[in-house]
Amino acid sequence: MNLRDSAERLVRASAFERFLISAAALFLSIAVGFVLILAAGRMTTCGTAATSFFGVGFCYDPITVYDRLFLGAFGNVFTDPLNGQFATTLSETTVLMFTGVAVAVAFRAGIFNIGTQGQLVVGALATAVAVLAASPLVSGLLGTLLLVPFGLLVGAVFGGAYGAIPGLLKAYADANEVITTIMLNFVATSVALFLVQDHFADPESAATQTVPLPDYAVFPSTVFRPRDDFSLLAFLFAVAVLVGIYVFLERTSFGYDLRTSGIQPEAAEYGGVDAPRTVVASMALSGALGGLGGAVYVLMILGNFQTGVPSYGFDGITVSILAGNNPLGVGFAALLFGVLKSGSIVVDVGTDVPPQLVGVLRGLIILFVAMPEFFRMIGRRVWTFEDDSGPQPVTDGGSGGERDE
């Protein structure tokens, strides 16, 4: 058996192992969530117990909750494939694909971009303002053909510029990007609030929001009902972006430099990679993808910009980590999270369990994926593993243990 074969086998094994770890982490999070729902059911008061285990009554029934969470997201998809709940699932998935791949690009470059949320807010506001300003110039189908790509470009440029700031601070001033990106999230929220309140407010509305965009300036809903705020075109665009980023990372020399900087910064420097420039470029690209997510959020879901943007950026962190920071995996992880986000609405309406449950699951999943050693240990108990290499940080594309056949 030559070296190359074993190397390939190792990569396959590690990709499979990563999938197993993600699946196990998800399962474990759901199990912890199960206990949490039961515990929450003991903390609250209710007239009749919803369920009982071992003779103890609980106010919430986890089975019902999970049923609503996972199946509610699909609605009656078999009789009506275009139903509103399923449209919501897909539109959440679309935005999460952008935020997930935004986080993935940064993580692959070895940079912890926690600022996708802020970059998305900046991109969203810029898109809403720019498209509104440009909308009187054109109209009709031509308007859609010109304005939607223009809006996406504006979102990407502004998100990218906002992402480049922490990149520059890290590259040239050594400022820890975890802290700067989190601080910039707060700044983005406050500045967006100020700009909308003082400069771009819709005079017709009591809420803090911009003037609604005309119908021809947003994503056309194509096959789904217009009121369900989902566009198949936007979805396909998101898929194309994921594939594009995958090809960029795997097949271009810059993508290679970016990945090498993430795994082996010293080796990358030695190989002639300009480290500071790679950091800034990676962060700008990551921010641009986050900004695209914001643009799609405005052009597909809202139709204008409103303060109080949902936590797509933070969900993107979980999506990326669950996908092992692989752009193609992000598609599946985003769909899973789209299901959870959409299902949480059904849970909120149909049960007494708060929709914040998904927020808890979001954190738990990251925690469990971050500890592959835990699963390897269990694995070694169940099968006999070779005593393999040490820890694998989730941000590298490293190889894990190999099954001993």
Partner: protein
């Protein structure tokens, strides 16, 4: 302003950056004070008026408490070699648990205890994940933050039917007669017990780190775990102790935050609102020294108090959302100027003893 601080902006120079910036800031304050005294009706005069108000110092101290306790906890954890990015999460969970237990038991001090226990349990989980299962510390820390960010509003919704809890009894203030009458500094003697506790905790932390055997172990565990191991001290045990201690300290800070107001608010980033991350910058700026961390905490909290006062009095014509960004922007600037602190050599690395 002092232009010499701009003279040598280069990289890798041995400029005493801290001294220059602090000097420039002090000079700026002197200029402001003179201008303010000469022209009390000008903007400078009004700003001076706000800066020297007793209420400003009182607010600064109140806002310092959660940041200072979290920063002290962060110092212990990171000195031992475990970077605790999850301080924000520990503050959040303690803030909620504090109010919940105060509500259930009817005693604010039981609430504090509850907050400390909750935060320590979460810190223990983080410690096991990092030390036992060799997780990436940054990712695990983010997970701690996100878990708390989801769990606190979830629990609040379950118990109180909304992201904000009901109001409970606050801890109250301890006023020292006569001393509290002193202009400006009187705020030091008319504060919640947590403020006094904060001064004690800062002094104690400094003493423990620099003057005790345990402190020496913590430092060695972060700088040279191999040597500590060779000397026969279990590195894992030291790191567990240090991370649990960070949970206890952040727990006091989080409970103090909610119980001095008597309510937990869980909308958006919750009432903790980035204080845990500001704490990290505070101890980096303070160069891992508890006293330095406390001084930079007072700086950040002072800016926060200033922006609250500016919002309340509305003397300047700056839009409120922009005023609110002052502390966050300052944190970024400080981090950019002093990002190059020397972290403990082994921080972030897992240590595996050779003989198992």
């Amino acid at each position: 302003m002092s232009n010499d601080s701009l003279g040598g902006i280069g990289f890798g120079g041995d400029l005493p950056w801290r001294r220059i910036v602090v000097g420039a800031a002090a000079l700026g304050l002197v200029v402001l004070a003179v201008a303010g005294l000469l022209a009390p009706e000008s903007d400078a005069g009004r700003l001076l008026d706000i800066l020297t108000a007793q209420s400003t110092l009182a607010a600064t101290l109140r806002l310092s408490v959660p940041i200072a306790f979290a920063a002290l906890g962060g110092i212990f954890a990171e000195k031992s070699g475990v970077i605790n990015i999850g301080l924000e999460g520990l503050l959040i969970i303690a803030a909620f648990s504090g109010v919940y237990l105060a509500d259930v038991t009817g005693s604010a001090w039981m609430g504090v205890l509850g907050g400390v226990v909750a935060s320590t349990v979460l810190a223990a989980l983080f410690a096991v994940v990092c030390i036992e299962f060799q997780a990436d510390q940054i990712i695990a820390g983010l997970a701690v933050w996100l878990i708390a960010l989801g769990l606190a509003p979830f629990a609040s919704q379950v118990v109180y039917g909304g992201p904000n809890t009901t109001s409970v009894e606050t801890v109250g203030t301890l006023t020292i007669p006569v001393l509290s009458e002193i202009p400006f500094f009187g705020a030091l003697f008319n504060a919640t017990p947590f403020v006094y506790l904060m001064f004690v905790a800062v002094a104690l932390s400094w003493y423990v780190i620099n003057r005790t055997t345990f402190g020496r172990w913590v430092r060695a565990s972060g700088e040279n775990p191999k040597a500590l191991d060779t000397a026969g001290v279990d590195v894992h045990h030291v790191r567990y102790a240090a991370v649990l201690l960070s949970g206890v300290l952040a727990g006091v800070g989080g409970a103090a935050l909610s119980l001095s107001l008597g309510q937990f608010t869980g909308n958006g980033p919750t009432m903790v609102n980035g204080k845990g991350f500001i704490a990290i910058v505070a101890y980096l700026f303070g160069n891992y020294n508890p006293v330095g961390a406390f001084l930079s905490t007072v700086l950040f909290a002072g800016l926060d108090a200033l922006q609250l006062t500016l919002q309340a009095r509305d003397v300047f014509d700056i839009p409120q959302p922009l005023v609110r960004t002052i502390p966050y922007l300052t944190v970024i600037v400080v981090l950019a100027l002093f990002g190059r602190t020397r972290t403990p050599a082994a921080a972030g690395d897992h240590y595996e003893s050779g003989d198992d």
